[in-house]
Amino acid sequence: MAETMILIPGRTTKQGVGLLESKFKKQYRDATTTVEINVEDMARLGLKDGCKVKLRSANGVTTVKCTGRKTEDLPPGVLFIAYGPPTSKLMGTDTGASGMPLSKHLEVELESVN
Amino acid sequence: MGSTLRIVNGRVYDPANDVDGKTRDICIKDGKIVKSVPPKTKCIDAKGMVVMPGGVDIHCHIAGAKANIARKLQPDDHRRDVHPRLDLKKVNTRSGTGGTVPSTFTTGYRYATMGYTTAMEAAVPPLLARHTLDEFEDTPVIDKGFYILMGNNVLLYQMLQEGRHEEIRNAVAWWLNATKSYTTKLVNPGGDEPWKGHRNATITQLNDKIDGYEQLTPRKIITSMVNTVEDLGLPHPVHIHCNNLGHSGNYKTTLETMKATGGRRIHITHIQFHSYGGKPNENPTSKAPQIAEYINNNSNITADVGQVMFGRSTSMTADAPLAWMLTRYSNDRRWVNADTECESGCGIIPFAYQEQVYTHALQWAIGLELFLLSKDPWRMVLSTDHPNGGTFTSYPRLIRTLMDREFRKQQMDSVNQKAVAKIKRGHHMEREYTLQEIAIVTRAGPARILGLKNKGHLGPGADADITIYDEHEDKELMFSAPRYVLKSGHLIIDNHEFRNNHEGKILHVAPGYDEGIKDVIRPFVEDFYTIKFDNYAVSDHYIPRHEVVPTAKQ
């Protein structure tokens, strides 16, 4: 069953180190294809660390792995992911005449793949 | 390969060489003016035209961090005044935008198109010197230099507090070398410490103690720097923006500052902004007569006027408390403050001078009074403190205002009459500047004040920076569109058309200093700056074309 959540992409050390090595190697790929999710949300949706989930926005779909974060760190209903090719798929192109696509406040539907 | 050229039949105004409108030939070889060239040399026929040295701007703000924030800040300033590139098949120029703070290329082209060939950027925090030099690389045609801000330098404060005068001299010399700059500039000396460190306070008296420095006052900072620069023998003395700029009653501070130097040379910049009577926080009155009289009688003082011109301007200054004060009088909500570590403050606001506003009209009139009361044009030269009082592109209009009494009267009649009533009437109001006097206040005078021996005149050895104007009744028209402009002997404007691009050079000083001073500066920079000492000094490849102007000792 799909649930609507807010996705925040951002920068992480792992993604930074990964891209210095190569954008076509494992470290970067792992860093940019793992979404952080609130542990309560995870439990409710029956997800475990490493489970695959599908994220769908108005603009596209991508499949990533998930990993849990405690409620005090990441509130329920909010997802975090490092920037990378998967986030491109989800971003909308409307920049509201600013040049900036809405990149940090993406409404997505999250769905377990398994 | 000697390229030569001769300008014939023109009426030459070369006040430095006592040539006042005589018809003379000017000979040019390899970018310099020479006594003679072979008879068959290519000629420019300047019959019916006026020949002058290229203009020299002693004080403007055209390049560097502050100017660039002002550009970024104001798309509205650029949109209505664009500067297209020319036809690539004729000459490869760069496009840009104008307004009160033009882009770099446009700045260079517009100075050149107006017959100005040298300009000095007047306020650069030493830490950001590279930025100014980067922009200078993209400012075509003109030669240029800049002054470094040293009136609020924390390391110098510490040295002065402890009376380490010898070290101050070496430190200032090191700084001039490290930044490739031309002289030192004091802006509201002592004012940064209360501004940054004490809840945006400022300093108002020459004898006020500076917070945190028991022994320091603006007066001490000024006298120390005047002595230092004189000891170093810099071609241009300390360039001072006095305390209390823009405040009613500030003429007293200005007089005190001039007196504080004990007969040594100083240059007081945009003195119009420092010639106000009245009480603080009340409307100003004019004290131009008192200021002009003092300068007329004291040959150690030079000044540029800082004329206010009606229309849009950008107020940008290292005097951050001043910009903050101006926000009260501006209708524009934009205000910029920018602190530079251990060296300077900065404030920027978009501004507009309006004919019907009392203070603005008075400021405009005070500038004119200073011009008209000045007995020695060599020591009271033309500036608008571009873009503070007005833009450099308004110089032709200012020249007309000085040369054309009727034109001046018309304007006087159309501005705020309460303000005009405050101006002293008298014979001087009838004065009309002559072409020779204009040549002095726009080129020969600034060049002499700057100690630029190869600029501002047309004698042998001078740089072949030459402007040729069509004689015209309307002096604004005449001075805004010269028929020919030569820069270092290259014909840039040919029959009113921009024909050749040219890269100007950087003018800077390189006074000697004791290498040991680096061991004093180094630990301070490592502790209280955020770049390494070894990364502070600007390397030579930032100045691919440059000229070291010698000090009196070199």
């Binding site: 180190v17 090595e21 986030t87 900036m100 | 500067h83 490869n92 760069r94 980067d134 570590e341 070894d534």
Partner: protein, 458 residues
């Protein structure tokens, strides 16, 4: 440069002191690099953080062709010719990138776009472009980082995670740095962190304020109201997740500090509200100057992204999103910004300098890039290089190439390269393209648009 470069000849090991790391906006200039000249490797990078170490120690000159044309190896000259033909024949070429190269290359790049009458935008537009727009509306009160180190006794991080994106920000500039009036480092400062999630930057903060996602603007506006002494409805907590008590406490701290700073990240500029968020935080700092000295300054990511803004501004008057179609610069975010130009399908050619929009732009933009002839300059193989018509391999700025980079606070730093490269610098390649395009345009008789023929079969 010589003084700092000591050569130890025996093992052909060189030490380069005071080198600058260009990976992030901290632009640390205190690197001590040990370089094995034979292996062409940097073996030690003293003072570097984990990202800086990764940058230097993983540096390796990959053995790639000088250029690829349609994925096939080509010489530099062939690459330049192809690139020049594309640009000379384009009607509406889009230039993008510039945050990871020198100012010298950026300057040349703007010269090229000016000549071909194209459009130029930097990564600023997808980073703090909205903050640039906010500046144009309300101004800013800012400072170089050293002034903050020396004086700031209240430091507020808002919507940014420097612990991961600017790892030495705390130690060099704002938290544990020792300054003139902050001799006891963190003890002399109060650190506040405002964010929607508990990032790795939160542990250093004395106060953490967790704002509800999407409510930054409301929180900033409420703080402005409180600073100005206006009434704020306690219900604000429902909207922002922050109690009125917490807000009032923060406002008192802000008004009563000696020198306060708001560092803000893309958590404001990239999210709902964009330039309004940035304008709100800039205004909050400006308002506070009625009471004390207060600064607000964006935290910028890439090494020389500030340089891109600065160069484009001095050359055109505008910071990003500039079009030259009419022979002079025009500025219009949303029209001339890269995401829009590509996603709308306006651009008929592209030049990407030192950036990888192919990996981080929206899918619609990437799809369009695949359809048009693209030129890419990058030391590494990137997603964008893979979809390009011409891809140049260039040397790495800061490691192989000297030049200038501007720190996020506008302090210019001269880079100290430590290793030669067989590849040309970005600047050299752009210059070569420029020269060739100039020749083509000067002798051209026909009008533009020939790229229609050059389009890949879509």
């Amino acid at each position: 440069m010589g003084a700092a470069t000591k050569a130890k000849s025996e093992a052909n090991i060189k030490t380069v002191e005071n080198a600058t790391c260009t990976f992030c906006g901290c632009l640390c200039d205190d690197m001590v690099l040990t370089v094995d000249m034979d292996a062409k490797k940097i073996t030690k990078a003293k003072n570097a953080c984990v990202l800086g170490k990764a940058l230097f120690l993983s540096h390796e000159e990959e053995d790639r062709p000088f250029a690829l044309i349609d994925g096939k190896p080509a010489t530099l000259k062939e690459g330049v010719e192809e690139a020049a033909q594309i640009l000379a024949n384009a009607r509406f070429p889009m230039f993008y990138g510039m945050s990871d190269t020198t100012c010298e290359a950026q300057r040349q790049n703007v010269a090229l776009v000016d000549m071909v009458g194209g459009t130029i935008d930097s990564t600023t537009s997808v980073c703090h472009g909205p903050t640039g727009m906010a500046l144009q509306g309300v101004g800013e009160s800012t400072a170089t980082l050293g002034e903050i180190k020396n004086r700031a006794d209240l430091v507020i991080y808002w919507g940014g995670n420097p612990a991961e994106s600017l790892p030495r920000h705390f130690a060099r500039y704002a938290v544990t740095a020792k300054g003139m009036y902050t001799p006891n480092r963190k003890k002399d400062r109060t650190i506040v962190n405002v964010d929607v999630r508990r990032t790795k930057s939160v542990p250093v903060a004395d106060i953490f304020i967790q704002v509800k996602i999407g409510a930054d603007f409301e929180l900033l506006w409420a703080l402005r109201a409180l600073v100005k002494g206006r009434h704020v409805d306690p219900n604000i907590e429902k909207r922002t997740g922050v109690s009125l008590e917490t807000m009032k406490d923060l406002v008192e701290r802000m008004k009563n500090c000696r020198y306060g700073v708001l560092f803000f990240g893309m958590g404001l500029s990239m999210t709902r509200g964009r330039h309004f968020n940035s304008a709100a935080i800039l205004s909050l700092a400006s308002d506070l100057n009625e009471y004390t000295h207060f600064i607000a300054t964006p935290m910028r990511g890439h090494g020389n992204v500030a340089g891109a803004d600065i160069v484009v501004s001095w050359q055109t008057g505008y910071p990003f999103g500039v079009n030259f179609s009419r022979g002079y610069p025009k500025f219009n975010p949303g029209e001339f910004t890269a995401t829009d130009m590509f996603a709308r399908g306006d651009a008929d050619a592209g030049l990407i300098l030192a950036s990888d929009p192919g990996s981080n732009f929206t899918q619609a933009a990437i799809d369009h890039m695949k359809k048009i002839p693209m030129i890419v300059l990058d030391p590494k193989l990137t997603h964008t290089a893979k979809l390009a018509r011409v891809a140049f391999t260039t040397s790495h700025y800061g490691i192989n190439t000297g030049g200038t980079a501007y720190r996020s606070d506008g302090v210019p730093i001269e880079l100290r390269p430590c290793l030669d490269s067989k590849y040309p610098s970005d600047e050299e390649v752009i210059r070569a393209i420029y020269k060739r395009v100039e020749q083509l345009l000067k002798t051209r008789k026909k009008t533009k648009g020939a790229n229609n023929k050059r389009r890949k079969a879509a």
